[in-house]
């Protein structure tokens, strides 16, 4: 069994600012909305599953924004809600063309090297701006597929950019699905401002 060894990076813990409070409130509002949808509507168990995951992720992120442990929360969300225990959160530094690893779990030196040695390609993938589930049969996904990435959620806030990179899924999961796409989208929208902007 893989131990939950989260490698902590350079996530700064700061006192709560106006921006932090505003972001946490946005996430709490989303969490309440997903909770309301779960309680008030009767579409299907599958839909409720997606909403309950979005609720749990929003709530967890709002706590993390206030506690200053956003990168660790991302790892926790990825492991528990997406079934992936090979995750890395990176920040790209345009001036130096270097990558900082803010947090990671289960990622090998080879996988890290594959990312850091391809700064420009990763930067280009992030520039595309949308959370993506990688499919090697799809044109444009060849590069990420070639280094074993199964999904990528781009992060940005002002001039700062980064990504949450997911490698292999747990054996019980064959691939990411449409519900995962919504969760990846949520992470992509909120984690950048949480990590880089508060």
């Amino acid at each position: 069994m893989k131990e939950k060894n989260i490698v902590r990076g350079q996530t700064a813990v700061k006192g709560e600012s106006v921006a932090t409070a505003a972001l946490a409130e946005q996430l709490e509002t989303r969490a309440r909305d997903y909770m309301r949808r779960c309680h008030e509507t009767v579409p299907s168990v599958e839909r409720h599953t997606i909403w309950s995951r979005l609720y749990a992720a929003s709530e967890r992120l709002s706590m993390a924004v206030r506690d200053g442990d956003v990168a660790d929360a991302v790892i926790e969300i990825g492991s528990n809600l997406l079934g992936c225990e090979e995750i890395v959160v990176v920040e790209l530094h345009a001036e130096t063309k270097l990558m900082s690893f803010l947090a990671s779990v289960g990622v090998s030196a080879t996988q890290r090297h594959a990312l850091s040695s391809k700064f420009h390609q990763i930067a280009a993938e992030i520039k595309r701006g949308q959370a993506r589930i990688v499919d090697k049969r799809v044109a444009g996904d060849e590069f990420l597929a070639s280094i074993g990435v199964s999904a990528l959620a781009p992060l940005s806030q002002g001039q700062k950019t980064g990504a949450i990179v997911f490698f292999n899924l747990l054996p019980q999961r064959k691939s990411f699905d449409s519900g995962d796409r919504e969760l990846l989208g949520l992470l992509s929208v909120y984690v950048g401002p949480s990590l880089f902007g508060t």
């Binding site: 069994m1 893989k2 131990e3 939950k4 909770m35 779960c38 309680h39 168990v45 599958e46 409720h48 599953t49 309950s52 995951r53 609720y55 749990a56 992720a57 709530e59 967890r60 706590m63 929360a73 926790e76 969300i77 492991s79 528990n80 809600l81 997406l82 079934g83 225990e85 747990l170 054996p171 019980q172 999961r173």
Partner: protein
Amino acid sequence: MRPKILIVDDSMTTLLMEEMLLKKYTNFDVVQARNGQEAVKVALEELPGLILMDVVMPKMDGFAACREMRRLEKLKRIPIILVTSRGEAENVEKGFESGCNDYLTKPIDSNELVQMVNGYLGAEEGR
């Protein structure tokens, strides 16, 4: 009094999701613990009808907590479902050896969770 379900996980994310689903699809009350040691304490206080417990946790893992619960007269008959990240044979085997009744793998599949919970606690009771 409605039976309670004790959910045990060091991940707040998992606790939030499990609680949401259990409240939506069952009528049981939910209590929580964040590690195995706390789970034994809460179980003794609350005497839940079912325990849903993660395996990898700080202080006391799910296997050890399971063994401890099976040693205690008040807890030995409570059904325990272990929630594992990996459903590999050796972990499943180890879970059953420690005294669990069943297991689920993460990420939690809602249908599987609700069916299993209702299977142990009774669907009628839980609605």
